[in-house]
């Protein structure tokens, strides 16, 4: 019978040691809403499970000079209760709260959503658009990388065997900067994104975009940063011509698969439409700041 070892270290060093010295495969456990299902179905049979939630800083949210520090395993429900973070980053916080049901929200985290490395992870395009960074702990100490550098292909990340994500740093939003995230699903709740889109923009006082980042999910093996879509926004107001360029740039970036949720053609088209709609929300939020 399959019987893994379970460890709940209380320090980063202890966790790194367990991961580095594990005989056989080891897996980090945050909320378990992906991992436990994969263990149960037999898709994954890790020999060692390292539950990081007893390490100080892996659950909770702190506002510091360099940004919002969000513990890797902080559940979506707790993120949604943080009024400061929700006001600063409505797109990031709405995106993570789209994951699953109330019950799933009680456990599901940014780190798990990112490291499960599904192309459709809902919280990922939002984090990417906002310029969030992942703080990764390992044998050689901590390193900080942009969120988009974590997933490398479906189910795989760039983390080494001894590494785990300790926390995320989401920059402070200042001035007329705001974000938004939208996904398309065939139902109203509890479904996997056909396309997800995160947009973050900064506007000047005339409503002209001075900085932008656009990210798409579920249309390629990993989350996309669409520079051409950002370029379509920068220097412009959100008029019809800008929207048309944004739509075309988003569609051009897509490299999706066809599956039961949508064909290649449908996903590509929806990516353009969602980019327009998400940008409109981000622009109006930024203008209101």
């Amino acid at each position: 019978m399959y019987s893994p070892t379970y460890a709940a270290p209380t320090t980063v060093d202890e966790a790194v040691g367990l991961l580095a010295n594990a005989s056989g495969s080891a897996r980090v456990l945050s909320g378990g809403t992906d991992l436990i299902i994969q263990m149960r179905s037999g898709r994954l049979r890790p020999q060692t499970i390292v539950d990081i939630k007893n390490i100080a800083g892996t659950i909770g949210i702190r506002e510091e000079a360099d940004g919002w520090h969000v513990g890797a395993a902080t559940p979506g429900a707790e993120i949604g209760e943080n009024a400061g973070l929700c006001a600063a980053w409505p797109g990031v916080t709405e995106a993570v709260q789209l994951i699953g049901s109330t019950q799933v929200q009680g456990r599901a985290s940014f780190a798990g959503n990112l490291c499960n490395a599904s192309p459709a992870g809902d919280s990922v395009p939002g984090l990417v658009a906002a310029g969030a960074k992942a703080v990764i702990a390992g044998k050689n100490g901590k390193r900080t990388i942009p969120v988009e550098q974590v997933p490398v292909s479906p189910g795989r990340t760039s983390l080494a065997a001894d590494e785990f994500i300790y926390e995320f740093i989401i920059p402070k939003s200042s001035g007329k900067t705001a974000d938004a995230y939208l996904r398309f699903i065939p139902r109203t709740e509890m479904d996997i994104a056909v396309v997800g889109c995160g947009v973050c923009v900064t506007l000047d006082n005339n409503g002209v975009c001075t900085a932008a980042k656009v990210s798409l999910g579920a249309v390629a093996p990993t989350v996309l940063v669409v520079d051409a879509a950002a370029k379509a926004l920068i220097g412009n107001k959100l008029d019809d011509a800008t929207l048309a360029k944004l739509d075309a740039a988003a569609q051009a970036a897509c490299n999706p698969i066809s599956d039961k949720r949508g064909t290649i053609e449908f996903r590509t088209k929806v990516a353009g439409v969602l980019a327009r709609r998400t940008a409109a929300i981000a622009f109006s939020r930024a203008a209101a700041r």
Partner: protein
Amino acid sequence: MAKTHVTCTINGEETEFLCDPNQTVLDVLRDDLGLTGSKEGCGSGDCGACSITVDGRLTCSCLMLGPEAEGKSIGTIEGVATGDHLHPVQSQFLKHAALQCGFCTPGLIVATKALLEKHPNPTDEEARYWLAGNLCRCTGYDKILAAVHAAAAEMRGESA
């Protein structure tokens, strides 16, 4: 294989158990502790029949490993009534016939209680979204929603 020794609080009572790390809290509750009120509908987080609270937060017990319960305070359907005295959510589910086969009912009651402790006066939309992770294949949900609102009113001290 070595079992893990876990100490936690279940429905206010300190409880100890031994479990395999691959057992879920739902397995422990049902198979080892005889608390069979929580049901396994899917084992994959979709149906909510296994709903419990962990330190006050609504969770699927099928998506939590037994050893993770260490030091936690767990609430199950068995702790909702006080002795023979039903909780308003329970009595309103009965009064409004918000169940047929009853398989989803423990999970729905645990989830509804958690909802009403956080949002004493939910709109229909809020209640439906909160309970979207609790599937019922019998009732069509309308009677459940009626029971939820009646329980909310009773808990707010308004006559139902």
